[in-house]
């Protein structure tokens, strides 16, 4: 009896995890199918999508470009020094494009979305739930996934790709300046070596990782926010759960893409 009791705690945790992930998967699939139906895009949904792209993407571009520039310079100088030391300076372009496009840009765009949008979306949904606004929307025969979740998830996916692209652009610009300064390599040959090393896998990683991760984050944060029951004191807990699960989703998606790319 006591042995069985020892398993009950982890068992409950596991079943809760399975249940949550099942609901999340169902919401994500429903979102995806809704997004491809033109009738899902009623005027309020389109307005919400535009706002989400604006708040989650456009407003985060300056910070993304700033962090991309800093990261680009640091990465370029480090890579230059190590490749110069090992006598493989001709690998500078491919190394930078691989590190920036496949790894850094999707990861940083996800981190920026988690910081800027994940907490905001979870707080918004949870507050709406606590205040009874979700009941009001449902009472008008409005599909919550269509009105609340889909535009946020799709908006974040578009914002994610945009932010990752901005990150790459500013990182390459800054790294070109850095390399010209310390390595005396002019920008022309530097960009030539980068562009010649680009392949399909780079674009698939950049777009796929940033879009899928951001899309899932939209679903996760809406799910955590809408799952709230009770008073406003439960809102911060939902925000924490939303952010932690968003980070977990980022890591899992990165791992899946990494395995698929290099297998």
């Amino acid at each position: 009896m006591s042995r069985l009791a020892a398993f009950s705690g982890p068992g409950r945790w596991l079943s809760e995890m399975v249940r949550k992930n099942y609901y999340l998967a169902a919401i994500s699939v429903e979102c995806l199918f809704s997004a491809f139906r033109s009738r899902s895009w009623a005027q309020p949904v389109r307005q919400r999508l535009v706002r989400q792209i604006l708040f989650g993407g456009v407003e985060a571009i300056p910070f993304t470009m700033f962090s991309g520039a800093i990261f680009g310079v640091v990465l370029a100088i480090n890579s230059f020094k190590w490749l110069e030391f090992t006598g493989r300076i001709d690998f500078l372009g491919p190394a930078l494009s691989l590190l920036l496009i496949r790894e850094a840009a999707p990861f940083f765009s996800s981190v920026i979305i988690i910081a800027a949008s994940a907490s905001a979306i979870t707080t918004e949904m949870a507050t709406m739930r606590v205040k009874g606004e979700i009941d009001l929307i449902e009472s008008q025969g409005i599909n919550l996934i269509q009105f609340l979740v889909m535009p946020r998830a799709v908006g974040l996916a578009i914002a994610g790709v945009g932010l990752a692209t901005s990150f790459v652009a500013s990182a390459f610009m800054a790294s070109a300046v850095g390399i010209a300064w310390i390595g005396s390599i002019p920008p022309g040959p530097f960009f030539d070596s980068i562009f010649s090393s680009l392949g399909l896998a780079d674009f698939v990683n950049l777009i796929g990782r940033s879009a899928i991760t951001a899309f899932l984050m939209g679903g996760i944060c809406c799910f955590e926010g809408l799952s709230v029951r009770g008073s406003s004191t439960v809102v911060p807990q939902a925000v924490t759960r939303g952010m932690l699960r968003s980070i977990a989703a980022t890591l899992v998606i990165s791992a899946i893409f990494g395995i698929l790319t290099y297998m």
């Binding site: 309020p44 008008q140 409005i142």
Partner: protein, 223 residues
């Protein structure tokens, strides 16, 4: 197909409450009544719209809308039938919310209609403006957040929203005159009367029975 639907709605009651206890704190006796098209009922009760709409569970009893319980419907049919029911939420209630805070009042009023594929957005806006003008909102339904809109405008905007659905079958009015400008109450009552004559069932819910004789409304059912 449309005819079958019409025939079904004409014969089947719009709403049936059998032995319904709204919540565990409810002091009143269980509610039982049947309301058909064009019938008007007054209930001395607390807010019940969300229970009638199947958003919240009643503590006891069964509610049927258009002859079916909410649990027996598909998701699409739940959404479709809820679009045919509107309500004015009691502005004094602590359990219901009248507005979505991050939308303007006019966006709130239009929200349900913009999801109804039967109505175009231009037609919905035109209808909103027409109803608003009837209720003395000369500048239309306010394009401001509910938090920064006057109580009198919010009450009239709720009235507008209640009569927005094209295929309206049931209106639940929870304490609808609370905070309303007296001058426009007759216009609102006219709209209620007009809806009743168009076959819409109306439930008026409030803690105190209004003077319906004075308002010019006669409830078929007075609980």
């Amino acid at each position: 197909m449309g005819m079958n639907k019409d025939r079904k709605t004409a014969k089947t009651p719009v709403v049936e409450f059998s032995e319904v206890v709204l919540d565990f704190q409810s002091a009143s006796s269980p509610l039982s009544f049947v309301l058909h098209q064009g019938e008007f009922a007054f209930l001395k009760a607390e807010a019940l719209a969300l229970v009638a709409l199947g958003i919240r569970q009643a503590y006891a009893g069964e509610i049927r809308i258009f002859g079916e319980t909410w649990e027996s419907r598909t998701v699409r049919s739940v959404e479709g039938d809820r679009r045919r029911i509107s309500y004015v939420a009691d502005s004094d209630s602590e359990t219901t919310t009248e507005w979505v805070g991050n939308l303007d009042v006019d966006e709130n009023v239009l929200l349900g209609s913009l999801f109804d594929r039967g109505i175009g957005s231009k037609a919905a806006v035109a209808k909103m403006e027409k109803l608003a003008a009837r209720l003395g909102l000369d500048k239309g339904v306010p394009s401001t957040r509910p938090d920064s809109t006057s109580g009198a405008d919010l009450v009239r905007s709720q009235w507008v929203r209640a009569f927005m659905p094209d295929d309206l079958a049931l209106v639940i009015l929870e304490n609808p005159l609370e905070g309303a400008p007296r001058k426009f109450i007759p216009d609102f009552i006219d709209m209620v009367r007009e809806s009743l004559s168009n076959g819409v069932a109306v439930i008026w819910v409030s803690g105190e029975r209004p003077d319906f004789d004075k308002l010019g409304l006669i409830p078929e059912f007075d609980f």
